[in-house]
Symmetry: C2
Subunit: 317 residues, 2 copies
């Protein structure tokens, strides 16, 4: 029931994942028929729904029979290997945190969002919005967890980790960042390569970019806004005359190929790191295709024991 | 002597400003001929140069005969009405702060950077990088100063001011932002309209976006990086075949018109607010055209008494 296009596109994506990828999907939602045609898909009935704009903490405390809470319980109880939601991000995090549980030794779970890099594996931005206020030590854990994630998901043995700042020198940045820089440089098990700036986020020069959830969320949405502005300009230019429309038709196939590479719907969504289960957070505007990719990512991460890999990084030995 | 293309493009831009706009320009730099042909332009000799990557505070303390320090002194002494530099941003700020002086009542000067909005006046982002760590009260002053700037520069009588955050609700954001939200809402003389998110920066919905200098700088550079990624993709698509090149030729005139609207070189550069003089900070990669536009902006702001307007906003009555 989560996401701007729910339940239609969500159910359609679940069906495609089952039909095309052979991944068994357990739908969680109301049993009153409001999900539409769910034939062939297993349904776990949950009578309540958390709205997209609802207060996350209160929703999870009071709506114990909501689809989000029940989905997290299904993972906790081993009935599902992973959960996927395009719903209220805060409530998704809270459900996962309170029902699956926080990983032992983890101070704060964080959101890891893959930023597409044309022709290469994505750069994973962490924290993309879970923790508006961070302590330097948390950033080190974010880096550890995201390193395990990049290895599990993209097969990169020793991912490079950079700190998002406003200059290359360790002395640049805010107080949390400057202290985190020193801690990151002194932490074994991760490959810290120093600071990067906002303009490097799409450059593909590093595997993981670590920052606090406030800065990460602002940067992520700035990139979204820039892409929207640019495609808007391109669209208006192409639509401005018959000649331009014809020229646009020539460029369109190649542009669409690149657009697909840059499309967040193709990356499989963000991941909540630091909880005792796989929790994929899809964009609120997710289409069936985005859900298909999110289910694929969730399935892979469960198969590759992401949770075990993160646990080993955070508490080695 | 400042900027990646100095001195050639800087001197050329100064000459164009004088020839095309009739603005008398005082060049500040070495008198040993290294500026090239400066005939027809007045020269204030300064024997030292602050390098782009030099430590700003130390440079300004030790290089008292540097072009940056001398330029700020020329404004202080009334020999110039404004200064423009494409050099070391930190040293430009320090020169202006220590030689022109901090405005009375201003806690911290801040950088105001216009973000281009196609078909409308820019959205001014403040602080775009002067203060990595901010107190909530400073953000209120940034909003006041930027409001005066928008009125002086773009003729908007009552500019709208938004706070950069990670959600529309006042409860969203980090501690500094949440406290600033309350202060902004209770401050007279500015028109505070609430929070915006990173994706709104290029949307043109508000006149001023206020944030701390760390977040502002990361967001600004993320936008730069996204634009670079997008133009890179477009260029590679257009160059991929003879047919695509021909199609690109059809679209190019209209694309260049839009690109010019989005080009930071056209906005006249950033402004340091809160010092006792007009100080325009141009991008390090400034061409002659960027310098021309920066001199134009500096001239306009001096003519319209920006400093007096900012002073009246910060210390009314």
């Amino acid at each position: 029931m989560g996401g701007d296009k729910a339940p239609g596109e969500i159910v359609a994506g679940a069906r495609r994942a089952q039909d095309e990828l052979g991944i068994p999907v357990l739908l969680v939602g109301p049993g009153d028929g409001s999900l539409g045609d769910t034939s062939g898909l297993e349904l776990l009935v949950a009578s309540e729904v958390v709205a997209m704009d609802e207060d996350a903490g209160r929703a999870v405390r009071t709506k114990r029979d909501s689809s989000l809470v029940r989905a997290a319980e299904a993972v906790r109880d081993g009935r599902a290997s992973a959960m996927v939601s395009a719903g209220n991000t805060g409530a998704t995090m809270a459900s996962a945190l309170f029902r699956m549980g926080r990983m032992r030794g983890v101070a704060r779970p964080a959101i890891a969002t893959p930023l597409p890099v044309p022709g290469a594996s994505p750069t994973v931005l962490v924290d993309a919005g879970a923790n508006a206020e961070c302590q330097p030590e948390w950033l080190v854990q974010f880096a550890q967890m995201a390193s395990a994630y990049v290895t599990a998901r993209y097969g990169i043995a020793s991912p490079s980790v950079a700190l998002l700042s406003i200059g290359e020198e360790p002395s640049k940045g805010n107080a949390v960042g400057k202290e985190a820089h020193g801690l990151l440089a002194g932490t074994g098990g991760i490959r810290f390569v120093g600071n990067v700036e906002g303009r490097d986020l799409l450059g593909g020069s590093v595997d993981v970019v670590v920052t606090d959830g406030f800065t990460g969320n602002v940067a992520l949405k700035a990139l979204e806004g820039a892409m929207r502005a640019f495609t808007g300009i391109l669209g208006s230019v192409i639509g401005s005359s018959p000649e331009c429309r014809a020229a646009g038709d020539v460029l369109l196939p190649a542009l669409l190929t690149h657009a697909a590479e840059m499309d967040p719907e193709e990356t499989g969504g963000a991941l909540l790191l630091g909880v005792e289960g796989v929790c994929v957070i899809s964009h609120g505007s997710s289409s069936a295709r985005a859900i298909l990719n999110a289910v694929r990512a969730a399935h892979e991460l469960a198969e590759r024991d992401l949770v075990g890999a993160v646990r080993a990084q955070v508490s080695p030995g």
